[in-house]
Symmetry: C2
Subunit: 202 residues, 2 copies
């Protein structure tokens, strides 16, 4: 009987995570995943009915840890600091060659032709959950129309992630941070920011 807590099952998901994230859910094959997990393909197919199911399990396993990591980065009391930490995280992660963007967005893009795929459903739920948490944080900071601000923040985060994956240049995470602070009303548009100061980076 298939249970969800099996050691073998966990090993397979860990291997899938490494390969699906590293090479894409279409680029990585079950053969390589089974080999990395140290099991045979037959064992893999005992625990997962299909590759599609394994892809869904891969995202399912990433859901809470990813949220937890973001919440931990944004644990400051004041919202401005939290938002700065968020985009600092995006910028610093984005310059690492091993970083390949957001796993959920990657799946949405790779499986754009199959929006009903279980993994796509999970990805949408993950992003909705994050949006809702953003909204709670913004509301707790006493900012009105928190739902609108949360969507703006989410758009900026995913836009920053996309640009980081594209150009691997923190300048885009910084752009997103500036935009987020302005949107949230936490920082006015600087009128006379010294050009030299603004260009310290790079």
């Amino acid at each position: 009987m298939r249970r969800r807590g099996t050691v073998t099952r966990r090993l397979i998901i860990e291997a899938a995570d490494a390969l699906f994230y590293g090479e894409g859910v279409r680029g990585a094959g079950v053969d390589a995943i089974a080999k990395r997990a140290g099991v045979t393909k037959r064992t893999l197919y005992y625990h997962f009915a299909s590759k599609d199911e394994l892809i869904a399990a891969y995202l399912e396993a990433r859901d809470q840890p990813t949220l937890k990591r973001l919440k931990n980065a944004m644990r400051a009391k004041d919202l401005a600091s939290s938002v700065r930490a968020l985009f600092k995280l995006v910028g610093s992660s984005g310059i690492l060659p091993t970083w390949k963007g957001c796993a959920f967005i990657r799946v949405i893009h790779e499986l754009a032709g199959q929006p009903g795929h279980p993994a796509c459903v999970l990805a949408r739920r993950h992003k909705k959950g994050l949006e809702q948490w953003f909204e709670e944080q913004i509301e707790a900071a006493g900012i009105s129309k928190a739902d609108e601000r949360a969507r703006e923040l989410l758009v900026l985060m995913d836009g920053a992630i996309t640009q980081m994956l594209t150009h691997r240049d923190p300048i885009y995470a910084e752009a997103a941070l500036r935009a987020a602070l302005v949107c949230l009303g936490l920082e006015g548009r600087p009128r006379a920011r010294s050009k030299t100061a603004a260009h310290v980076y790079r």
Copy 2:
């Protein structure tokens, strides 16, 4: 001798465009592309040395038309109207089932493990070109630090596209539009009150 203007070559690229964009560059095979183009695989491989080269040609063929379409949408004299038109376009496109996001961003995500792939190089160049054009428009509107504002606009656009592909809900394009107008200083937003101040009203 292989020339770039051949009718056959164009037919193949058109078929590739439909299938690569519809099912992903990894999801679509050369078999299906050749069939759709009405040629044999051997002919396809006469015109393109490899599938990777065909993928690059597919993006290459999309580069100028995509830029042109965006410039046409943003042809208004005043920047605010142009920006509104941009995100209106993203929102209205994004609810069409046939729309599958930005072809360039899709490739970046699908080939995240191969940043040196010719198609990835083209995708980066395309986005850089768009960013530069944004900068020119913003500068022409008399807004300072146009380079920073252009990056913010680009991040918002790609973030909106990503969210549209994820949720198919124009509410995210609208969020990005609001953020863009605030960032460009085309629409004000009052600074947030402190949390204690907010408590006065509760």
